[in-house]
Symmetry: D3
Subunit: 140 residues, 6 copies
């Protein structure tokens, strides 16, 4: 099915949901839009305990390296807060630190707001593995 | 851009993101899939304080009326828990009860797991309105 | 089955679990123990939204009227904190304010620590009604 | 004092509160009831940080090994969620990872709902050791 | 005792702690600093349930009317987030909606970061009234 | 600017905000007050993950070694609870365990209530470092 790319949150969620070829199409569509929207995509996986240490830093690095943000305190702080909000959606139970998490994360901004979306799988046991989705947004 | 409909969480999120015509396409695709997947869509809006009273009931009603679940305690309980998880994503700050919320909600099941996705807008002030997304999943 | 009355938390939980005649036996056993343990029992019911307003006050009143505590700021504060901890167990989801709650609450102290236990039922829908139990403890 | 064994949550709480000989009586009573109720009991102890890693897995193992549940994704997921809810009651403060926890845990089901109850002690310092109780319930 | 005014968070906390004449001195000191720091002070009181509705709006209004921020979505959003963080410190127990709250709130910015500090009293019962302090910070 | 030392919470916050010479003045003023108020100050720093292990113990030790409390279960428990409340203000996001925290902590009591205040800095990245403040209070 086809979905229109209209707002940064929607774009970030679609990019997080996308497989490899779908991601290329989204990136091309965003570039063709000529509207100052910037998008980066990264993968994060590990145990919940490990993810607590790496999630925000990985997303911050992806945002900087892909020129989604400039390296100012305010813009970096916006990424960290949106990432933490997204992490709460991915792993709402803060207590099961040994569960495994594997998500695709997209960061998208229009220069005013910045959205972080994460989609993937998480499980305490492989038998109970199921989808997860987290989303956060912050002003730049 | 086009995204493949492969798993119930992904389908629920795409349906929540969709506009009216996109929603029709998703529903047709799900039906054509012939794979026992059921999908319902509903709208919920109001102040955060009001949403706290109505969110889970509205989603439960939509799930029952659209035959997404049968009216058994277990299946109804699954919808309520997935809905509460989705609500936490939509309104992570439990304290601002006067903020306004307006979301499209999709409920999707394959008979084993059930997903609830919500996407829309929320704001304390119209000036600070931004996108929100919540997601929950539970075994049937 | 029979359970020994040994510690204030255990006594409070058993009193919260008890039916009317079991409650009388527990109270008689506690009195016969001659060990400075005091116990009060009360019922609390209503919607979750209403319970948020009344739960701590009702338990505080029951503790004072039954001489479980003296009316000092410290002892009253201990009851309030133990009651709030118990409430979180009874209704862990803070968002479903329209769910109905009906619990039996016991307050028990040995003069050093104070325990509050609550046991009963809670449901968003009568079809999904299930047991709930909450427990809190605080120094006097 | 004596308490009647009537519902799975009550049975799980009483089993978690029981000492060794009381536990045998409860198990015999449950078996004699001939009503499809299954019950397992296990012990869990360690620092809070360690418990975060082991609590849900230990309870899942106890439930499977004692035939309280079948090894299906849905039934395993139900145990994990009820266990996480019980853990929140046992250790409501997520931040004190070095506190020690020692609890007896009971898992009980009637084939429709499943309850997990935990009772024991927890302390940051041995001087401040006090009772703890946690309880969770989920549809199977 | 005397404390130096060096950073916006410290200034906001001191202003929230101040009585009327101390507040005048702080405001004069901030103005004399000639360093682009802006400060506003307001009072908020009511039941916890009412505060949940009014806290963020009152602080947003005070920030705008006193020219602490400009009326842009980003700057308004920064105030709302810092205010919500401060509110969590003032009333950490989300469940006791009938407790009364009375706080002095200060909002302070240097044009890069914005701090909100709240100090005052809160009580379920007048007998257990005690001090409260909340603090939040956000990039502008 | 000058602020009057009137209540234990206010004294604790001012001591946490103070630099070395200001701290000496506060301590002298408290002693001169001849009113049974006791005050201790300590520093705590480390990663958030490490702080979760050490925060409450460090504050408990400082309170005992400086005779702010006696070594009874109730008084020690009061310090632990006030410290945990203060920690939540210092690090509201429980998930970013790798962020660094550096705070000055003050513990103050009048023999009836005990307050813990913490003020300092916290950052996931040095670029986004900003002030933090936490506060907790408990009956002795």
């Amino acid at each position: 099915m086809e979905i229109k790319l209209t707002r940064i949150g929607k774009i970030a969620i679609l990019a997080a949901l996308s497989d490899e070829s779908e991601e290329e199409t989204i990136k091309a569509d965003v570039l063709a839009g000529n509207n100052n929207i910037r998008l980066a995509v990264t993968f994060i996986s590990g145990t919940r305990g490990k993810i607590n240490e790496t999630f925000t830093r990985n997303i911050l690095n992806a945002a900087i390296q892909n020129n989604v943000i400039r390296k100012t305190p305010g813009q970096m702080h916006a990424v960290l807060h949106a990432a933490l909000e997204a992490l709460q959606g991915v792993t709402p139970q803060t207590t099961s630190v040994s569960s495994s998490v594997k998500v695709k994360v997209a960061i998208c901004t229009d220069g005013v707001w910045l959205a972080v979306a994460a989609y993937g799988d998480s499980a305490v046991s492989p038998f109970t593995n199921h989808e997860r989705c987290g989303f956060g947004i912050m002003h730049l």
